[in-house]
Symmetry: C2
Subunit: 449 residues, 2 copies
């Protein structure tokens, strides 16, 4: 826990040209920590230190470097060094590089893949961004039913370093169809003379290459697996997805929903690294749509202009009513959107949700109305008729808001849209208009204006 | 993949009393799938099928049953059967049961733990809900530096079934302080005569028992580990956290933020299982606070009552201006809240964020204002002076909204509050008031009212 290299010490050692010491300290360090050290160094020092890494550690570190540093590095090292990295990289990391990096970079690394790999890379690039296929890796351990446990362990010993995971091994038939799964734990604790057939699990949970990655993440959460196999349409095993990639997927899917729910196009690039123009473009179209929609609410206000001029005090409650309507509607829609995302709610639950939200609305609406009534009559000293108008509007618009907020995400889902669209901004715009109409109608009845 | 039992077949087999067939089909099924089958059966059939399970599968299935089914089951089986389950359960599952189940249930299961376990359970229950300690398990593999690889593998073979994970093994010194980590992969591919000391990793990433679970989840995401060790204040190893528990934590932390950001007290119970009263109570206090705050906005409108009566058309744009201000502010605050949650943004970035949001605000504000100006002058046929008032307000209030939205979450974080509080509802309430003040001030300058 002590012998670790930090930036200051590293600079010091570079200054003193004590490369032997740097090399010794780097060996045995975690690749993520080395990558973090490297990315903050000036380019020439970064390349210098990178060259001190052992070959297999170097490739691991490379995979964790930020894109910019990867680019700097590939542009500064020899062909031989590029080749060494590419040979050691896992296939899914190479696919990511080809997908994300500029053309000159890709050309430089693609040279060192063979024809078969290149064809496979192209195949992988064709999986939709949000699909199980795009998360797959092909480096898994393949076993045959007939193997003895002892031979299987020898096999893993031989090829284990080149595989992304050795903790779950896959058994297929002659047509490459998945027959069973064996964990390394099971292999280690089993009798060495047992066959794989004796010990493999046959109740297999798997994903299809075109499944949405959100569904795959729900499988991981449900079963607690370290890896899930991916099959094609003919049920042939074509890859696996490992749990470490899933953590990122769950985080990204949540981030995507946060963005959409705040009326923005989802963005995977971290905020501080996103350009101002891109940030603006992610937000502008949604704001425009919402702005235009909100003018409808304005026209309702204009329609009741005379009423507002006659009973001027009515306008004082408009912001409070609109905000409360928007807030209560957003609460319901957020719960339903999130429930849909984590698989706790399905569109068929709409009656349950409607009934539930209606009862919640009555409790909340009456409580808010009561507090408001007391406040208006005793502190603000407005007439009982005005107070009654405001409070009745509150109960009605809270109820409508809860129903709208609870059901629109379900409707969106059923129509094939992302339910997250039906969050605060849209719900607020819709509920605002309804609230005003309810308010003016109740006012005209109670106040006879 | 075929021989799997479904509910219909299970009912059929129960009817025919073919328990032998049920037992055979259950053996080899995934425990999560068995739990799913069981939970939908009527209680007596559920207990009947549960009794057909092999002892170790039974405990695994039990851990995955819903609380209600666990309760039904414990109340229907013999003391001996309860004892068998408790003996096979992992320690963290027992702690969860003691934490969550009613007293009579807990009394029945606690009987079968020994004194040492009971004391440890009490200790574990004292970790704060959101801490690393509350996620820990104590069933990990312990190795000594001096062991040879071969002996370590024998050791794992003996005790492996009782451990939550065998894929990462932990090496400690005489004072139980963590010295190194060895993966099972490394053990399997290493020379059997090497010592653990030769092959263990010394650059160890660990958590402290009182670390927030959100920090721990960021460690898992950063390093891609399958397990992370947890140490106490004296750096002694006291438990490990496994990655499968992390998936749930990431999902729950995001859900918590979604709830807070929609002005609700966070709720872990699924929506459909939460009582109406509880749903209402989660929402009501926030709605009250926001409702009272919004009356301040109303009083601003009252203050400018005369202006609204003189130039009535001004009121038509109030909903649009308020909504746009709220939406733009929420966009900025959502990005910053999420950035803070996933560790991409820190409070010290406030200058960068301010500058960035200001530039985004100018682009967005001017674009919105331009569209609006053209629409007002050519379609709505309002005077150029009114159109100018509205559009100038748009630019100013979008800018203020972006600054407020971008910085309040940072301020909240710095003051030790959850930044998620500073989301759409609060931002909207604050920005509404500011927007109205800006609007009326600009109107009085341009329209001389």
């Amino acid at each position: 826990m002590e012998d670790v290299l930090n930036v200051d010490l590293l600079y010091d050692l570079i200054e003193r040209k004590d490369y032997q010491e740097i090399r010794e300290r780097l060996t045995g360090m975690n690749e993520v920590n080395v990558a973090e050290l490297l990315k903050d160094l000036p380019p020439h020092a970064m390349v210098l230190v990178f060259r001190l890494l052992e070959k297999d550690l170097a490739a691991e570190v490379f995979a964790y470097l930020p894109k910019k540093t990867q680019n700097d590095l590939i542009n500064s090292i020899t062909d031989k060094e590029v080749k060494d990295i590419i040979e050691e990289l896992f296939f899914d990391d190479i696919v990511d590089l080809v997908d994300e990096m500029p053309a000159n970079f890709v050309n430089r690394i693609i040279k060192y893949t063979n024809k078969e790999e290149r064809s496979l890379i192209n195949h992988f690039l064709n999986y939709p961004d949000d699909s199980a296929g795009s998360l797959m890796t092909i480096e898994f351990v393949h076993l045959k039913k007939e193997y003895r446990v002892k031979d299987a362990l020898d096999h893993i010993r031989e090829i284990g370093m080149e595989k992304e995971t050795v903790y779950t091994c896959y058994v297929t038939d002659a047509y490459r169809r998945l027959e069973g799964i064996v964990s390394l734990r099971k292999l280690v604790i089993s009798d060495p003379t047992d066959t794989i057939d004796d010990i493999m699990e046959r109740d297999i949970v798997y994903a299809s290459s075109h499944d949405d990655r959100e569904e795959v993440s729900l499988l991981f959460q449900k079963y607690g697996f370290l890896a899930i196999p991916v099959v094609d349409k003919e049920k042939r095993l074509i890859g696996i997805i490992t749990v470490d990639d899933m953590l990122e997927v769950i985080e990204q899917e949540a981030t995507e929903d946060f963005h959409i729910m705040a009326a923005m196009s989802p963005e995977e690039t971290p905020y501080l690294e996103t350009s101002v123009l891109r940030l603006a473009m992610n937000r502008l179209p949604w704001l425009l749509i919402l702005m235009i929609s909100a003018t409808f609410t304005g026209s309702i206000m204009m329609k009741y202009e005379n009423m507002l001029q006659t009973v001027a005090v009515l306008s004082a409650f408009i912001p409070m009513l609109m905000d409360t309507g928007g807030n209560t509607g957003s609460q319901a829609s957020t719960l339903v959107i999130r429930g849909l995302a984590v698989g706790e709610i399905e569109p068929k639950d709409f009656l349950k949700i409607t009934f539930k939200e209606l009862r919640v609305a009555l409790i909340v609406g009456i409580a808010l109305a009561t507090v408001n009534f007391l406040r208006l009559v005793f502190f603000s000293k407005v007439g009982v008729d005005v107070a009654l108008t405001v409070c009745l509007t509150l109960v009605v618009c809270v109820s409508i808001a809860k129903l709208v907020g609870g059901n629109l995400p379900l409707l969106a889902k059923r129509l094939g849209f992302d339910p997250a669209i039906m969050a605060s901004p849209f719900i607020t715009t819709i509920v605002d208009a309804i609230t005003l109409m309810v308010y003016f109608n109740i006012a005209s009845k109670i106040l006879f204006v």
